[in-house]
């Protein structure tokens, strides 16, 4: 299955080409489509289901036939095992099931799963932690000592059941329990496993790579949902971030921080920002508080309540009288 935009070719005549659909030979210099090793007349490049021309559209290919997007989805799109709807776009495959990315969550605790950390249990799909807490499905016999293994001692290693206490931690040599973790083919106690993990800079907790998704930015590790704006705490979710003083911000809060939010119109400043009176102004918003005249940042103004009053308004007789009364 593939979907792509295709470009035309021109038949140079070097090789004999037959159209995949009508089986007739292509003329010299005739434009045609080339898909892998198959050639198609442009007029024959039609959806196998609805016969609509696929020229210039996204097409899908399956088992030698080509389809328009709509029919391909109707015929072949997988059905999400969780919500029972067609999965268009990003699909997650796990064992024999398919899921929407957003539906690929633990049936018990609803956290997002990734392909590593999904476990089947009684027809449910669970995360690592929930799977651990479930009562075991079968009664196992230890592959080492052949004795029955109680649930609380069970450790699966290389797909075989064992008593956990037969093993020691690779790092600290402590006798292991059922909560031991496997990395490649080595076993570790939970503490030594955590020591190998990165720590999320936000919550300061260990990022468990077998269960949780993380990202690396600003030279630090973060849980996906913990890499967020310092002001509004919204996760960046792959969107751009802006850094200042070692903190990350979303666009609006960054502009707010560096003082480019106009005091008058309450929006991010359009044009060359004017910084005066502890505030920022758009050039068209920097006006005299008395007469609304647009001011230039170099204009001589009187500061009244941290707002500008132009020379003309300062000179106004009533205003001068009011100042005089105050200074009595």
């Amino acid at each position: 299955m593939s979907s792509a935009r295709i470009t035309e070719q021109r038949n140079s005549g070097k090789r004999k080409r037959c159209c995949e659909r009508c089986k007739e030979e292509l003329e010299l210099d005739e434009p045609y489509f080339l898909l892998g090793s198959a050639s198609w007349h442009m007029r024959c490049f039609l959806c196998a289901q609805c016969m609509d021309p696929l020229v210039g559209t996204t097409y899908f290919q399956f088992e030698g036939r080509i389809y328009c997007e709509h029919d391909f989805n109707r015929l072949y799109a997988p059905v999400c095992a969780k919500c029972d709807k067609f999965v268009i776009g990003q699909v997650v495959h796990s064992s024999n099931y398919s899921f929407h990315l957003a539906c690929f969550t633990c049936d018990e605790c609803d956290i997002q799963l990734n392909s590593n950390g999904a476990y089947r249990y009684h027809g449910k799909i669970l995360c690592f932690s929930c799977n651990q807490t479930m009562p075991k499905l079968k009664i196992y016999n230890c592959s080492k000592c052949r004795q029955r293994v109680e649930d609380e001692d069970l450790l699966m290693y290389q797909h075989e059941p064992y008593h956990a206490y037969h093993f020691k931690c690779t790092t600290c040599k402590k006798v292991l329990e059922a909560d031991a973790r496997t990395v490649k083919d080595e076993l570790f106690c939970p503490r030594c496993f955590d020591f190998q993990c990165e720590v999320c800079f936000d919550c300061k907790k260990v990022i468990d790579p077998q269960i949780e998704q993380s990202l690396f930015s600003m030279n630090k590790h973060w849980h996906i949902h913990h890499f967020r704006c310092f002001t509004c705490a919204r996760p960046f979710n792959g969107h751009e971030h802006y850094e200042k003083n070692g903190q990350a911000y979303c666009r609006d809060d960054f502009l707010e921080l560096i003082g480019h939010h106009c005091f008058i119109c309450d929006k991010n400043v359009t044009g060359a920002v004017i910084h005066l009176f502890g505030k920022a102004f758009c050039p068209s918003c920097y006006r005299c508080r008395g007469c609304d005249k647009i001011l230039h940042y170099k204009d001589k103004v009187m500061e009244l309540d941290m707002m500008p009053l132009c020379k003309k308004c300062i000179g106004n007789k009533t205003f001068q009288k009011s100042l005089k009364y105050k200074n009595q």
Partner: protein, 268 residues
């Protein structure tokens, strides 16, 4: 009068210092439904007509330095008004419903004759208000309702007659500028210490108040920053909590007979 463009095209109208005494002198030059900015500063208007509410696109109204004594209550229905400047007028009371401006962000009432008795019941419920200029008025106190101005960033109470500040001011977490200079404040409620007002782009003006000695000493030594860190101490909190309501004598008001905004005073 200078030539204006065709009435329909002009959305910003200004007639500054033109000796205008009646609003009707300019209303024929205004396209009521499209005008966005109206500037009538430095004139001699004494009132506004009720049909000011017809200016449904108005975002900015500047009436600085006129002689307006009363406003029509319809003014608060202007649906798009964000900036209202009625500074330097002769207002003694605000009309009923004045707090129901739907989107007002900047309100300038500087230099009028307003006091806490002039405010209608819903005045402090303007959630959109970001800046409130009440300098040069006659406020002796502010009601605790002030805490409802959740978005307030600038509060100017310069040169009023304030004897106390409400502790509820401490809840205005967005406040960046507090101007309380030139009042009759002896103390500051410790709750105001919650506000971050010391730093760049922040303004705290406290001077010219009859502060009690321990606060005045802090101010003389370390300025506003010193006063603010002092009111945050446990010592001050305890002291403030133990004050009797009228243990300090009330400082006298300034003589305001000749204040330009008073009725009867001729304007230049």
């Amino acid at each position: 009068m200078p030539k204006d463009k065709k009435k329909e095209e002009v959305t910003e109208v200004e007639h500054v210092d033109r000796n205008i005494t009646l609003f009707s002198q300019v209303s024929h030059m205004i396209e009521a439904e499209t005008i966005t900015r109206l500037t009538l500063s430095h004139n001699k208007l004494t009132a506004l007509p009720a049909n000011i509410a017809d200016l449904i696109s108005l975002t900015s109204l500047n009436l600085w330095n006129n002689q307006i004594e009363e406003l029509p209550s319809s003014i608060s229905s202007l649906p798009k008004l964000k900036i209202l400047n009625i500074g330097m007028n002769k207002l003694t009371i605000l009309p009923r419903g004045f707090g129901s401006f739907p989107v007002l962000e900047i309100l300038d009432l500087t230099y009028n004759n307003l006091s806490e008795r002039s405010l209608p019941g819903n005045f402090f419920f303007m959630k959109t208000l970001r800046a409130l200029y009440l300098g040069d008025n006659d406020f002796e106190m502010l009601p605790g309702d002030v805490e409802n101005l959740e978005n307030l960033q600038v509060l100017v109470l310069r040169e009023n007659d304030l004897l106390t500040l409400p502790r509820e001011l401490g809840k205005l977490t967005r406040l960046r500028e507090l101007h309380i200079q030139g009042n009759r404040l002896a103390m500051i409620p410790p709750e105001l210490g919650n506000l971050e007002l010391i730093g760049s782009k922040l303004v705290l003006r406290l001077e010219h108040n009859p502060f009690i000695p321990r606060l005045q000493e802090q101010f003389d030594a370390n300025g506003a920053a010193g006063v603010w860190s002092h009111i945050r101490t446990d010592d001050y909190r305890y002291f403030f909590g133990r004050q009797e309501p009228s243990s300090t004598p009330v400082p006298p008001k300034r003589n305001k007979e000749k204040k330009v905004s008073r009725k009867g005073i001729q304007q230049a």
